[in-house]
């Protein structure tokens, strides 16, 4: 067991957790933040992507204990003052989601892309999102959503 302190979606938390607790396990099973999804456990599908200190990572293969003192943002932390984040708005507007399961990870990855590159090309978006699998959309409207968000952010 190990004590950690984190800031999650703007709130400071202190928890005592088993050493092997993954970040996704902490979020979902201990903090009940179930917006972060587990699609594979092997860092392949990207449904579990969250931001740690502003950078996107796959939370299913990060140990929570390693992240002591970090600031973490999950899909639940994007809404501010009751308003959707421009990326969330863009996914809604462009029909960038269907079943919604990969969506949290997709949105978190896409936000990180726009931090790195303001106006990415279609190819740059597709390359960046290569680590996020979606089985429903064929990615076309996800690409459209990221472009839409880029024009608004």
């Amino acid at each position: 067991m190990r004590k950690i302190s984190l800031e999650i979606n703007g709130k400071k938390i202190k928890k005592e957790i088993p050493d092997h607790t993954t970040l996704s396990g902490l979020l979902r099973d201990i903090l009940n933040l179930t917006g972060t999804h587990i699609g594979c456990d092997t860092s392949q599908c990207g449904a579990c992507v969250v931001h740690v200190d502003g950078k996107s990572i796959k939370s299913c293969t990060a140990l929570a204990a390693d992240l002591d003192g970090s600031k973490i943002t999950t899909i639940e932390g994007l809404v501010s003052n009751g308003k959707l984040h421009p990326m969330q708005e863009a996914f809604k507007k462009m029909h960038g989601l269907q079943c919604g399961f990969c969506t949290p990870g997709m949105v978190m990855s896409a936000i990180d892309l726009l931090k790195n590159k303001k106006n990415p090309s279609d190819q740059e978006i597709r390359d960046w999102l290569e680590g996020n699998i979606c089985r429903c959309t064929g990615y076309q409207n996800i690409v459209a959503a990221v472009k839409e968000a880029a024009s608004k952010m």
Binding site: P18, R28, N32, L33, T34, G35, T36, H37, I38, G39, C40, D41, T42, Q44, C45, A47, T74, I75, E76, L78, V79, L84, Q88, F91, K92, K93, H95, L97, Q98, C99, G100, F101, C102, T103, P104, V107, D122, Q123, I125, R126, D127, L129, E130, N132, I133, C134, R135, C136, T137, G138, Y139, Q140, N141, I142, V143
Partner: protein
């Protein structure tokens, strides 16, 4: 009021998904829950000699461990095939028992044998490691081509053959072939796929010791049917003591049609251990135990005249059922496949013969398209081969054999009510700039690349129903759909549907339909689905049936509401019913300004009294309330169709296939929400292109699935696709009041032959099998080079 049918309404479901507030099965926790871990066979085929749980039972946190013995003691039934198919000789199909936990034999890697329940997932996993099982390992049957010559997997099922089925007329085909100028022959495989919904399967079970009610939250496409099977065949509990809830479900694609072992076992066990149970598959479990798709070997022949007229077609297929026959396992390679075998063509004679066999692999069942992709792949590939052998253009040979009049009596079964295949192909040709291909090919060649173009015209039979037909063909239940529409006294509407959305956007499209029918703002309409305690029994979502069957049930229930409302409104307005017209949510008396909104009528219907008067606003004999239901059973399937054109560029040095252009022109009849339909096409295309270029489920000789992770099974990713170019034509379906046809499976049906025709075109007609991986294409390029060098 503008019609909402046809408009791009934004989805009502998105906000919860985009803010992390979706409620998937794995998100549900019940106080005091235990965690289940299944112990699965590591062998493809073995006898279970002994199971020793003694050490595991003493492991920390273990609540109980149950095995097939316990299942047998409690007489819990197993999984079933939903369709009874007869062989050509009229004998009944042969299906093995499929107990929820294997007791004596295991038949595929992943077959569940025992289950551990513990206070935590870690403890359950640790205890599972301590369960000792002695096996007598037997030789696995994994080669589809050799299955019928192999050892018998299931006692009493000779040659591992479930059935040897025929549709069509062998004699007529022989006569047609005798008259042919040329016989085109094709041997192809339809590669095995794993559906891979992004949400792994899961179930959470609650048991109420006082009411004795079991609640099973599960990842299902059809919770009502799951409850029926679990109750009637599993004997887990009577239906009234069993509630099945499929909350938000993260994709299905057919893999979540079936009721699975884990749902039966956990529902039964929750009552036994008197504790809630949570089970979530990890991804490898999903790979091993979700139903797989496709997996056919086919020999096909097409008889043609020298000028490209089709005379006859035959299709000899071996279909892999995997270890057991499941709900749609036996119908997928027969009635969902055979009738579509002749595609969109006038074909004077045809037959499809399918031998469905058991192997020591995961059960194979419906996967997006189910049977129709396999049929379409065969016909569209052989038609292209005919064009090559006759020296014709692939569009020309197709145009020459299309029907010109509808309804079109298709060769084998279907009476296709509407369509216009010529218009679709013409439009696709134009949108794809087919005529500019030669110039693009030249450009590719100048860069040392090979370029190919591929065409497909498909039709499919979906909107799976009607009951009398499907039951005549062997379905164990009628395939209608139900809806109930309830007005609240204050004017909002709740629509209950037996369909289930796991990405299809029912909350939006069904609300659009109801809003148009009732003249109520869409914001005031809620769609409820996926809970056997809410709404009537329903048949669920698969086979592109939600809109064409379930949506029409909603329309019909709304029409009943409007009719009852009219009777009440007439009384309220002191007019005769004939003089009252309903439009845009208002009942208006002809030639007057007297009117009542449907909301006012709903209010009056619930509160039928006037103060100080013994007077009801309801007509005499009318019951209070404004609630109506409908069970819709259509007269026929729906028959969407379309033409797709793909262009690929191949690098002969690496064998890499780049899909450069993809044009899809589809006819789905009336389109309720173009944005959502486009999304369905995109998703179907991605799966179809995945089948053609990257995806393949592979077992080794011993029956180990060697593609059991995302590192080994090549899921298509964002950078695998170009931007798809979509177009639509419209011939309305005549068998439902909206004129709608199914759209969910089209992409997965049309894309494999379209892409493969393009790849083979780039390779100058050199045949390769799906998936066209870089390795296969590179080898083909080398072979072509060698042949060309010899010829020179």
């Amino acid at each position: 009021m503008a019609s909402l049918v046809g408009s791009r309404v934004e989805r009502k479901e998105d906000k919860r998904f985009l803010t992390g507030k979706g409620r998937y099965t794995a998100d549900i926790n019940i106080a005091n829950q235990t965690y289940a871990v299944f112990i699965r066979s590591p062998h493809a085929r073995a006898k279970i000699k002994k199971i020793d749980t003694s050490k595991a039972l003493k492991s920390p946190g273990v609540v109980d461990i149950l095995t097939g013995e316990h299942i047998a003691q409690d007489k819990i039934g197993g999984l079933i095939a939903g369709w009874a198919i007869r062989s050509e000789d009229n004998s009944e199909m042969k299906c093995p028992a499929n107990p929820p936990l294997a007791k004596d034999n295991v038949n595929f890697v992943g077959d569940p044998i025992a289950v551990v329940f513990a206070e935590s997932l870690d403890e359950a996993k640790a205890a599972a490691e301590l369960v000792k099982i002695d096996y007598k390992v037997l030789k696995a049957v994994t080669s589809l081509a050799d299955t019928m010559k192999s050892e018998t997997i299931h006692d009493g099922i000779d040659k591992n053959l479930c059935y040897d089925w025929l549709l069509g007329d062998r004699q007529k085909v022989k006569e047609a072939f005798d008259k042919a100028d040329k016989i085109i022959k094709l041997d192809i495989t339809n590669n095995r796929l794993i559906p891979n919904a992004m949400e792994p399967r899961a179930c959470v079970i609650d048991y109420n010791t006082a009411s004795e009610e079991i609640t099973c939250y599960t990842t299902s496409q059809n919770p009502h049917l799951s409850r029926l099977i679990m109750s009637a065949f599993g004997g887990v509990a009577p239906e009234n003591k069993l509630r099945v809830v499929a909350p938000d479900v993260g994709g299905g694609f057919g893999s979540k049609i079936n009721l699975y072992n884990e749902e039966i076992v956990c529902s039964w066990a929750a009552k036994k251990i008197e504790r809630p149970i949570k089970w979530i598959a990890d991804r490898t479990e999903s790979f091993l135990t979700d139903t797989h798709g496709r997996d056919h070997i086919t020999h096909a022949e097409l008889a043609v005249t020298n000028d490209g007229k089709f005379l006859g077609f035959k299709n000899e297929t071996i279909a892999n059922l995997g270890a057991y026959a499941r709900v749609f396992g036996t119908v997928t390679p027969t009635y969902l496949f055979g009738p579509c075998a002749t595609g969109v063509y006038v074909m004077p004679a045809a037959y499809s013969n399918v031998k469905a066999v058991y192997t020591n692999t995961a059960p194979v069942d419906a996967y997006r398209g189910a049977g129709r992709p396999e049929a379409t792949y065969t016909i569209e590939r052989i038609v292209d081969k005919a064009a090559i052998e006759l020296g014709m253009d692939p569009i020309e040979i197709r145009m020459k054999n299309f029907p010109t009049e509808f309804p079109f009596k298709q060769t084998l079964v279907h009476q296709v009510d509407s369509g216009d295949y010529i218009a679709g192909l013409k439009k696709a040709k134009e949108m794809a700039d087919y005529d500019g291909f030669a110039a693009r090919k030249k450009d590719s060649e100048s860069r040392g690349k090979l370029r190919g173009i591929g065409v497909t015209t498909y039709f499919e039979a979906c909107g799976i129903a009607p009951s009398p037909v499907v039951m005549m063909l062997g379905c164990g239940v009628g395939l209608w759909e139900s809806a109930e529409v309830r007005f609240n006294p204050t004017g909002q509407v709740t629509v209950y549907t037996g369909s289930h959305s796991h990405g299809q956007s029912h909350q939006t499209t069904f609300a659009q339909i109801a809003a148009d029918e009732l003249g109520v703002p869409i914001e005031n309409i809620d769609i409820v689905h996926g809970d056997t305690d809410k709404g009537t029994f329903g048949m669920g979502t698969y086979g592109s049936r939600s809109l064409t069957v379930g949506g029409i049930a909603i329309v019909n229930a709304c029409k009943k509401i409007v009719a009852k409302g009219k009777r009440i409104a007439a009384k309220m307005l002191e007019a005769s019913e004939e003089d009252v017209e309903f439009k845009d949510g208002e009942y208006v008396v002809a030639k007057s300004n007297k009117k009542k909104t449907i909301g006012e009528v709903a209010f009056a219907s619930y509160l039928p009294g006037v103060r100080d008067e013994v007077k009801s606003p309801l007509p005499e004999g009318e019951e209070p309330g404004l609630i109506e239901s409908s069970f819709f059973d259509p007269a026929n399937f729906s028959f969407p169709a379309g033409s797709h054109i793909a262009e690929v560029e191949i690098d002969p040095e690496t064998g890499n296939v780049k899909l450069d252009k993809y044009t899809a022109v589809d006819d789905f009849g009336t389109i309720v929400n173009p944005t959502i339909v486009e999304g369905q096409v995109h998703g179907g295309l991605a799966q179809g292109i995945g089948q053609a270029l990257t995806e393949n489920a592979e077992y080794d000789e011993s029956g180990q699935l060697i593609t059991a992770s995302y590192m080994d099974y090549t899921m298509p990713r964002a950078d695998n696709f170009p931007e798809f170019n979509l177009g639509f034509t419209c011939t309305k379906a005549t068998t439902n009041p909206l004129g709608v046809k199914g759209c969910g499976e089209a992409g997965a049906i049309a894309a494999p032959p379209t892409v493969m025709n393009a790849v083979i075109n780039a390779l100058d007609g050199h045949e390769i099998q799906m998936p066209a991986t870089a390795e296969k294409v590179w080898k083909a390029c080398k072979e072509i080079k060698k042949t060309n060098a010899k010829a020179a």
